[in-house]
């Protein structure tokens, strides 16, 4: 019994969700290192992995302190896109009139390159956190709305009729049927949104800021300090992964019943 349990433990480790991407990542880093050695690529074009790791190691406190402003801007921007995106989606899905007024404009606004109007926010709000938050919000907002609208609209009308026939009020039916039904779609939107919010925050920092990872990247490009720039990229990627993971965890808590979560249930059973 003990042996089989041990075996199961080993196979579980191999099958763990994080181990495969991790192995692949190691493979990429090795390939990167080999490419630089074989083709003699100079450091000012692509730094070696070891140099990047060295920067990460030595400048860790500085990088960490710079990553906080970016994280704040991302999280605030993301929360704002959820806070506004979901109600807007409710309005769009709930009323044909609202949809006909708002939706086309929303799509239109998406074709405006955010990076082009980002300096405008600096002009309006200065060099603080606000332009970054707005930039993160603008990038994160659209995917939430699109997914949530699709989620709200895909409710089976018979199901709504069934609840209404039991004298459920509009609000009751919405809470019991429409909202839970839309949750999986909302979460898939939130997951896209949170990674885009990171991009948005960095764009905000590029344009006008004196703190944050985006600022570090801007500065290191200016001095051809590519190892630092790559180290900043690594931090950004980590930030994205961590935030994505947090949303994913919340999703598991909120919709444990959904198809995407069932595999775990079966394995656990």
């Amino acid at each position: 019994m003990a042996e089989s349990r041990e075996q199961r433990g080993a196979s579980k480790l191999l099958n763990a969700v994080w181990i495969r991407p991790f192995l692949f990542l190691i493979f990429i880093v090795i390939a990167w290192d080999l490419t630089i050695r074989i083709f003699h690529i100079p450091q000012y074009q692509i730094p070696a992995p070891a140099d990047v790791v060295a920067v990460l190691w030595h400048d860790w406190p500085e990088l960490l302190s710079q990553s906080w402003p970016t994280t704040y801007a991302t999280v605030y921007g993301f929360l704002l896109s959820a806070l506004f995106g979901i109600p807007v989606a409710m309005l769009i899905a709930g009323s044909k009139t609202v949809e006909s007024y708002i939706y086309p404009l929303l799509v239109f606004s998406q074709s405006v390159p955010k990076i082009a109007i980002a300096p405008l926010f600096v002009v309006w709000f200065g060099f603080g956190i606000i332009p970054k938050v707005i930039s993160a919000f603008l990038l994160g907002f659209f995917p939430v709305v699109v997914s949530a609208v699709q989620g709200f609209k895909s409710v089976d009308p018979d199901m709504v009729d069934l609840a209404r026939a039991m004298k459920g009020s509009r609000f009751q039916v919405f809470c019991a049927v429409n909202l839970p039904h839309a949750m999986p779609a909302i979460f898939s939107g939130l997951k896209v949104s949170v990674t885009l919010a990171v991009v948005g925050a960095v764009v905000g920092e590029f344009v006008g800021s004196n703190s944050g990872i985006g600022y570090v990247m801007q500065r290191s490009i200016g001095t051809f300090d590519l190892p630092t720039m790559f180290a900043a990229l690594v931090i950004l990627a980590l930030l994205g992964v961590i935030l994505f993971w947090v949303v994913d965890r919340i999703e598991r808590l909120v919709i444990p019943w959904h198809v995407s979560q069932r595999e775990d249930l079966i394995i656990a059973a």
Partner: protein, 273 residues
């Protein structure tokens, strides 16, 4: 006949004749679309007695589901009036239980919580009806599945749970829109037996819509045959079989004869899908 109002009604249960049950008088439905008005139902007049098992058969798109929605109060008729137990239906009245072709269980609710949905919607005391929900689940053979989620159940079991949901708030009327259309033939026959038993035990008025003529004759006290869109009444048949029926009844000459007779309606219309 004229001297006694209501005497022409075949009263199955007691209670005030004429006032109880479902009365449909001059009810029609026309949908307004961009291409103009589309008549769905021609004016209908009929009466379903309290405690009766009433089955409607008809070709697709003849407005059967529209009729069902109007009786539940979800859809206003274009003309005429619908009386349920003497009261005119103008909005959802909650005195119905509905079963659709798909079980339509909410995937995030357990089987028991799904059955309790009408209780939540009608704001009835949960504790009081929980016991009733458990008993209904037992009645349909779902004891022990209360805490399961819908996807863990087979199609037939899901449909049985949805029947419990239609019964839990103890409505007078059950409206069933092709409830067994999505089930395989064997499960379907078993469900027919069970539905018959449930109806005998609870004494509910049932309005069931189906495509299957044998199913209609097997279950019904009376069968209403509808014509193609716009739907109207082709005929109403009394089923001359006793109320207690086993599957053997399908071999009864009276059964096969009635099935043949109803089938003829659709062959002359040449449109049964």
């Amino acid at each position: 006949m004229v001297s006694q109002p209501g005497a022409h009604l075949r009263v199955v249960s007691d209670g005030a004749a004429g006032a109880s049950g479902i009365r449909i008088s001059g009810v029609s439905k026309t949908y307004r679309t961009r291409d103009g008005d589309v008549p769905s139902l021609k004016p209908l007049d009929f009466h379903i007695n309290d405690g009766e098992f009433f089955v409607v058969v008809g070709p697709s798109g003849c407005g059967k589901s529209t009729l069902l929605k109007m009786i539940s109060g979800l859809l206003p008729p274009s003309s005429g009036e619908i009386l349920v137990d003497g009261k005119q239906v103008t909005e959802p009245h909650g005195n119905v239980g509905i079963v659709f072709q798909n079980a339509l269980l909410l995937p995030w609710r357990t089987v028991l919580a799904n059955v309790m949905l009408p209780i939540d919607m009608k704001r009835l005391p949960r504790a009081q009806y929980r016991q009733r929900a458990m008993e209904l689940l037992k009645l349909v053979g779902l004891e022990g599945f209360e805490k399961k989620l819908p996807w863990q159940l087979s199609g037939g079991m899901q449909q049985r749970a949805s029947i419990c949901r239609a019964l839990v708030h103890d409505p007078r009327i059950m409206l069933m829109d092709e409830p067994f259309g999505a089930l395989d033939a064997m499960t379907r026959e078993r469900m027919n037996m069970e539905l018959q038993r449930i109806q005998r035990e609870t004494g509910k008025t049932i309005l069931l819509i189906t495509h299957s003529i044998p199913e209609a004759v097997f279950l019904a006290d009376r069968v209403l045959v509808m014509t193609e869109r716009p739907g109207s009444i082709a005929a109403i048949y009394d089923v001359p079989l006793g109320r207690e029926r086993s599957l053997d009844v399908m071999a009864d000459p009276a059964f096969t004869q009635l099935v043949q007779q109803i089938r003829k309606h659709f062959f002359t219309q040449s449109a049964l899908d």
